[in-house]
Amino acid sequence: MLLDYLLRFADNALVLAQRLGEWVGKGPVLEEDIATTNVGLDLIGQARLWFAYASEVDAREGHAGRSEDRFAYFRDSGEFRNLLLVEQPNGNYADTIVRQFLFDQWHVLTLGQLTLSRDERIAAIAAKAIKEVRYHVERSRDWVIRLGDGTDVSHSRMQSAVDALWMYTGEMFSVDATERALIDAGVAADVEALQPHWSAAVNAAFDEATLVVPADAWMQGSRSRGGKQGVHTEHLSRLLAEMQSLPRSYPEARW
């Protein structure tokens, strides 16, 4: 159960980092190319911290104690536990920025709670990661406002991105049995309680950005049938096919 929870955070970070890595060399301007890559690098580092702990818990739970690489490269999409939001394709830069902001804002609030986790290792990883994620959300929020309240073209692309991605935000706050038990034990973040704070922060940024939230959107992946339970959109398997192809073709490859 704890393993499952750790993999959710590890996989969020890993999958989003892989997506951001797809921008390398193709960013709209050099500074943003560097920024996107740096955010991805932070997330890779965080994924490694989560995987390292997951590996120990895996061994404790009587499994093989799978390594970071086993977790990253040798699981299929059904075994990944990331949110549907982070696996969505990059689209144009507005799509990437909106995806980033919606996730960053959730991430910073969730990590904030996890710094108080009764599991000391989780608290330590969260304390490390939150310093980086605070910086991420400042940047993605700045861009949401800049592009939303920008030109007609940037505004319309941002609004389209919000319209397309909003349906993946409900899952971030839906609590399943695994999460409930760990919340009750003081280990996991109570995301339900965080939702009003997230909504307030997102609405404030969107107001400034002149963006509107779609009304009555159907929320994908809530009701315990989404990315956190291993039920993914088709985009994840394509991402994994690229990310995993080298180690799967040459399992013992060394640089």
Binding site: E31, I34, L41, G45, Q46, A124, K128, E132, D142, I145
Partner: protein
């Protein structure tokens, strides 16, 4: 500049032998000679990356903490530590990583701030509150942040070019007085 190089500071002769014969002070001196791979004007001790050196049974254990969790220099720093300590003391140390407490730029030694400045890198959190109150500031689209002094001319009229720079720990700035672009070591 004729500042004594790091290598000249290793006075301790290489004492071949088990860890029990190695002085902790000698290990610290060796560590003080290890430059940060990405900001080589300062040592890893000055950056606050080395948290502890202890003797555990027949082993020297060096505890380090990562600056940024994805910092690609981490593996190189660990290798440099093993080499430097082994060369200075004859004992190969074990290097372990501690996540808590998390690294902060507050741990950068005061003398290292001067070294960063002389290398053209604005050190984190150097601006005085009195300077902020009286200085003119360019208007940017982002929310106001504390101004960063230009390492070249000292002007506070600087603006952020990009939130990320040449390494994970730096942002890119530009001085609007002397027009020089520079790296800013982000407070963390």
């Amino acid at each position: 500049m004729s500042v004594p190089g790091p290598a000249t500071r290793i006075a301790e002769p290489a004492a071949a032998g088990p860890a029990t014969l190695v002085s902790i002070a000698a290990v610290w001196r060796a560590l003080a000679s290890v430059p940060d791979p990405e900001v080589p004007v300062v040592s890893i001790v000055e950056l606050g990356i080395v948290r502890d050196v202890v003797r555990e049974r027949d082993e020297i254990v060096v505890t380090v903490t990562p600056t940024y969790s994805g910092c690609p220099a981490t593996a190189m720093i660990e290798a440099d530590i093993r080499t430097a300590v082994e060369e200075a003391t004859g004992v190969r140390p074990r290097v372990q990583t501690a996540l808590a407490p998390t690294w902060s730029t507050d741990w950068i030694a005061p003398e290292a701030r001067g070294k960063l400045l002389r290398a053209g890198i604005a050190p984190p959190g150097m601006t005085l509150a009195s300077d902020i109150a009286t200085s003119a500031r360019p208007i940017t689209f982002t929310r106001p942040r504390a101004p960063v002094a230009c390492p070249n001319c000292g002007s506070l009229r600087t603006s952020e070019l990009a939130r990320f720079g040449s390494t994970a720990c730096k942002a890119q700035y530009r001085c609007t007085d002397c027009l020089e672009p520079f790296d800013y070591f982000k407070p963390h």
